[in-house]
Symmetry: C2
Subunit: 356 residues, 2 copies
Amino acid sequence: MKRLGSQPDPDRRAPTMVDVAKLAEVSLATVSAVINDSAPVSADRKKRVLDAIRRVGYQTNAIARSLKTGSTKTIGLMIADITNPFFTAVIHSIQEVAYHHGYGVMLCCSDEDPEKERLHLRLMSDRMVDALIIATAGETPPLRALIDSRRKPVVLIDRLLDGVATDAVVIDNVAAARDAVRYLVSLGHRRIGLITGKSTLSTARERYQGYCQALAEAGIAIENALVGAARFGSADGYGAAMGLLSLAERPTAIFASNNLSGIGLMRGIKDSGLRCPADISVACFDDFEWADVFEPRLTTLVQPTRAIGAQAMAIVLEHLQDGGAQRSAARVVRMRAQLRIRDSCVMWPPPPGLST
Amino acid sequence: MKRLGSQPDPDRRAPTMVDVAKLAEVSLATVSAVINDSAPVSADRKKRVLDAIRRVGYQTNAIARSLKTGSTKTIGLMIADITNPFFTAVIHSIQEVAYHHGYGVMLCCSDEDPEKERLHLRLMSDRMVDALIIATAGETPPLRALIDSRRKPVVLIDRLLDGVATDAVVIDNVAAARDAVRYLVSLGHRRIGLITGKSTLSTARERYQGYCQALAEAGIAIENALVGAARFGSADGYGAAMGLLSLAERPTAIFASNNLSGIGLMRGIKDSGLRCPADISVACFDDFEWADVFEPRLTTLVQPTRAIGAQAMAIVLEHLQDGGAQRSAARVVRMRAQLRIRDSCVMWPPPPGLST
């Protein structure tokens, strides 16, 4: 620990309108009227207020403006896991659009915990954000109440809530998961494992549906033993993977329905002394920037992260600009994920003569 | 696009103290006095205000309290790149501590652009955050002015500013880089490349110093051609790597002084038709969660991301709680990174009989 020689200012409290009012010997209402130009104030009193503003170092700021306009020019952004590269890519996109429109972003992370999300929501409501963009960790009564109250625009991203009429930007998870599993089927796999997420999340449910549809199309029965429950994190993905890999008749391919559980799966394969793709094929949801420079190069479902963030912000801005007057109903925008085929899935059984 | 059948509230503007004052037919100062319990108000007028608060749906909120206290219970967090896992790990830690103390976090990302950082700082100052934690993209006059004004606590993380007396939490970058390069030297490497960052960043300068120290100790001359300039991103890391790899006498090992440039380096090695570690050894700054499950398993410098975030928040809270009164000078807390040896560095020249 190193000490630099300089004294901190003993009074760091930022000056407020109250300080201005005291020094100018006028009421708070008069200060507000001058700052917001909201009511006539005599030239003498106005001069006293302006002098006091300069002397106490008060700046006409967002807080004072908020009192008048009810707007903080801040978007609340609630995401489920900041260590998930899918979310950081979406955050980056939202932040960029917000910035270009003069909005700040207040970020909260629920760590996939609905209770934590509930408390964060209260924190954000208390801060009076103008609108919220939420990738929910799971429905709670306060979240539903917030949306139902329609007091401020709420746009859901990534995850929908059943029967809740609010705007949302998501992907077609059923189609995406179906694409990945169809691909595994096309390679000859019939014992295909799934690492799923909590059934309270629409993404987990829809990806499970896509998995089931692809198997049904191929006449393959769903086996519960091949569905490993996890919670979209790498540690629980690892646990689910270890369960699947230790089955007497283990799967020849596994589809991890989110990126962190995919990493847990790869760790499980390694710890089991197996090789991907020689012993087991892997496809997973969400791409990584590094996915094509390390081995095995993962086959992934690539989500349009930039477009998801931009679209969510576009809807928020539309609401904030027209006060909802132009809008007649909640929209659910569904985008498509793309299957990016690399090297982590191979034919099953391996063609004769092919070294594995 | 799907439409759900429900009408948005045509007037979504949140009720303000002004609305309360109008309905109660009292002054704004009276509303403020009731809400903040800051001045005596007659029982009759108090009842009118409380009734009006209920009728307009106004909630005693952070904005109103801010007027009185000058505090928003919000920490501004400026980071350089949200797609960098080092920063997301630190954000996660900061967010967690802030949450436990009832603070919200307003996050801004500068994308390693000092000009963007300058504009974001204005945005955050305008929102009147109580304190700032900043991983700067490079010094700008407004950042220096903000720190020098001492109007609110500023804690720098990851990156220091020369001669600026403010609290900071960083690691010993010289020692860390020296450790990594010493290790490469111990394996027999003498042509060791470096991918560095912008020289305006203390981390880039200090890591370069550590590289130079380790080479000097070993009696190896610094060759400018072996130092590839990048900007701590994967694309420019790739460019720097391609430069180093196309040298007539290319290095046998490269140290990437940040994680994203390490990914760029690995892509460059792949695109050059080389293999790591057989053809070239690689060590890089910052660990990845997936680093030990994909090949090659990278040798990295692991930063104490959780401790960095927690320490920065502890300093912020100390300032906010005691108003700086207990503190006599700015502190620079320096933590240590650990070299985690995996498989991406091998002996040079390869021992006879060892297959590469």
